[in-house]
Subunit: 247 residues, 2 copies
Amino acid sequence: MISLGRTINPHISVDCVVFGFSTNQLKILLIEREYRDDSGKQARDHKLPGDFITLNEDLDLAAVRTLEELTGLNSIYLHQFAFIGQPERIWKKSDMDWLNTTTGMEIQRVVTAAYFALINITESNSDFAIKNNASWIDIKEVPALAFDHRNIIDRGLAHLQKSLRNEPIGFELLPEKFTIRELQSLYEVILDCNLDNRNFRKKILKSNYLIQLDEKQIGVAHKPAFYYRFDKHIYNKQKKEYLGFNF
Amino acid sequence: MISLGRTINPHISVDCVVFGFSTNQLKILLIEREYRDDSGKQARDHKLPGDFITLNEDLDLAAVRTLEELTGLNSIYLHQFAFIGQPERIWKKSDMDWLNTTTGMEIQRVVTAAYFALINITESNSDFAIKNNASWIDIKEVPALAFDHRNIIDRGLAHLQKSLRNEPIGFELLPEKFTIRELQSLYEVILDCNLDNRNFRKKILKSNYLIQLDEKQIGVAHKPAFYYRFDKHIYNKQKKEYLGFNF
DNA sequence: GCAAAAGTGTTGTGACTACACCCATGA
DNA sequence: TCATGGGTGTAGTCACAACACTTTTGC
């Protein structure tokens, strides 16, 4: 999405790799775009949510703005994870033409700050996104993308996997209350592995920032699972500095 | 250092936090700069090695170039660790004036890619640096700096500590051959803690990429220590993916 | 009562911490 | 021979991996 009607800084952009999780799939938010291919024909493909920053706009805030315009959400987990500036990263003429057309400026070279966001997909923010030509696509079925966005997604995914191993961020992708099994599935899908559920439970419950609620699943054809919630406050309190070094 | 005589991209710069280690101190490479303070008086202070990128220059290569111009070295451990773009990061009028004067351009706002470098300080590269107004300063005695460079250093140091815990990068700061004790001191200084030397040895030698040489210290008034070298090849081979998650 | 997923305990192994003394050298 | 830093071993604790059965519900 390009900011028409704002004064942009045409040298610097933000791009957001937005992850969501639903029906046991890791999904990513992509935007459909219309462009003219090298032969001048109208075509469609997908790109990451992103935008040029405006003059005097803070980078982080530009990323927040981009996502808010797209999902209606403004307090989501969002961090910069890379900054990409190879001169040849926009190598297709059609991509460069598209930038020139949509901005109405002569774009030379764009350096982009890549952001990483985690969203709990709900009906409401999903509807909001659809109105903006955005849609949630399974990470395993990402089509060909504009610019170097495929590369940015791969780096974002690696970042997600690393973060998930080192900090409790999985909750950002789940609703307020969730079952241990849902959490385990999330880990399995993102890390692409199978986890022993006894060991997973022990490990995740030992750190006592998962609070068991009084509520159970209803209407399921098996023993209903308890719901839990993540208590960020407890986590922050007992977050410890790991002092060993293990390589 | 500003590239006079090159065509620069005045929106984007690189800044390098360059660490060195000598006489049991963690040091950082700073450049002395002349400028006019807000009252117009000639003054001196320090800044990080850095530069605007030139048109069509790759960011990573801009960082390599900056350091090569400064130290004569071109194959050093160098990684991007942050990208900083608050509009108010250059808040002092004197700093903005200095940029305008040295570049001969009207600078509006600069977004900078922060790089992190590790160097084994030698007489030769140290002499080279001195010729360029650069000097090695103990990390604990860093004076007031230009721009937001103090902040960048703090973030670089945090990055160094984190990296040192997770990857064997300490060797980059030491000469080719070193004693276990030197390595331990390096860990202690950077992590700001005391380590038990029996446990340190066990841990570091267990991973068998430290090769004991036939050579010992000479001329020391105590039992001479063996020298070791780091074998990157062995490390790369047995580098394992840590699959658990520990938070 | 049966299908389907939830939930639970034990054991072996390996990594970490804490801790104190002898060894080789130069002066 | 003494001062200096190099170099070594053991015991307790804790985290992790591997592994199979009982429980609760809807149909």
